[in-house]
């Protein structure tokens, strides 16, 4: 457990000393959401209808944008080799890196979402459900993303490849999360969607660190 905290601490420290890597995806998130009212229509009725989808798509793309860097630097400077040859469990080390990634992208997105939701005339109930879905699903985005990021370690200019690998796995989350928000706006029950997102989170939490560890070992050869 100690090594988990040490790795988490190290990753957070590196990120905070190099803030542009953290801020870039967040700025992308804010800018892309705030462009929609300009491009489509400033009317409250239109915007509140598309708000959930817009915020969800933008946060998904922002996470995708930040995933490239998850293992990239540690691979380039050789720390990844040290992690693999260490006697500590590699899935645990990877889980620590994923946690750091979520703290640096998922949490800020969740905290920004009420503000952006209000921009897009999302009502109180909608904002609440939006935050719940983000809280349930952004960890899954980081976890699943780590599988893709570990597969493309060592491949140059692999941004496109990462999107192709990961986006299909993100689609179910997108569908259920945005439908939860729009149903809540009409006062309908959303238990089913939330259960699905929770199930997805548990599944990815149980499998992604292990799959990423195997993928990393293959990529390092």
């Amino acid at each position: 457990m100690n090594i988990y905290l040490q790795t988490l601490n190290r990753d957070l420290r590196i990120a905070l000393r190099n803030p542009s890597s953290v801020l870039n995806p967040l700025l992308f998130f804010i800018i892309s959401v705030s462009l929609f009212p300009l491009a489509i229509s400033p009317e409250a009725a239109t915007l509140s209808q598309i708000a959930a989808g817009v915020i969800w798509v933008a946060s998904m793309l922002a996470v995708l944008l930040s995933l490239n860097a998850l293992f990239h630097h540690d691979h380039e400077n050789g720390v990844l080799e040290q992690m693999v040859s260490s006697h500590h469990s590699l899935p645990l080390l990877i889980l620590a890196k994923i946690t750091a990634h979520w703290l640096l992208t998922g949490i800020p997105i969740i905290l920004l979402s009420p503000l952006l939701g209000t921009f897009l005339f999302l009502d109180g109930e909608g904002v609440k459900v939006l935050m719940i879905t983000l809280l349930l699903a952004t960890p899954s985005l980081s976890l699943i993303g780590s599988i893709g990021a570990s597969l493309i370690v060592g491949i140059k200019n692999s941004g496109m490849l990462l999107s192709l690998l990961i986006l299909p796995l993100y689609i179910p989350i997108l569908i259920f999360a945005s439908s939860a928000v729009s149903q809540a706006q009409f006062g309908l029950a959303i238990d089913g969607q939330l259960y699905f997102l929770a199930m997805f989170l548990l599944l990815s939490l149980m499998s992604a660190p292990f799959v990423s560890a195997i993928a990393l070992k293959i990529s390092l050869e």
Binding site: I3, G78, E81, S86
Partner: protein
Amino acid sequence: MSALIVNNLECQRGYNQLFSNLSFQVNSGEVLRITGANGSGKTSLLKILAGVNALEQGEINWNQYSVKTDEYQQEIFYLGHQAALSGELSSLENLEYLSTLNKTAEQQQLVQALVKVGLKGYEDEYCANLSAGQKRRVILAGLFVSKAKIWLLDEPFTALDPAGVKIVESRIEQHCNHGGLCLFTTHQDSALANQRILAL
């Protein structure tokens, strides 16, 4: 007496067979210097021994523990081509993290280790600001706190000045006198006592 025993090792990279039927034994207290032309498989051999690359064929054992078991991996200190340092962290923070990944002595000795490799006053310097030789020294400071028995050093002397080479060599000798063993690759001559040579 413990020994690292390698049996019938084979390594293939792409279409090239780098080596096959490679068998050797290194006893504790011994130094094995691996020599060979560029591309002869020195780095690949060390990576396989370190458990970074997969073992395609053959056996590697240390006291009945085979490679990639926890008992084997915790006896490994592996130094690769790259510095394994993050530029955003200070030399002390880097050393701290790398030593938690490996089996090491008390953390208080880290500052002393940096002093021993001649980096006094550089503890809080970001590694991005260090020269290539200084970065190498930060990594090699790990040798002074390592409790691992098997040292696998890939070109430990690159970018080091003669004084640095001497510090590292004397540390390797000390390690071997205390029952450790060391495998290293180099293109330079080395004055280490008690060394054998394996030509790939």
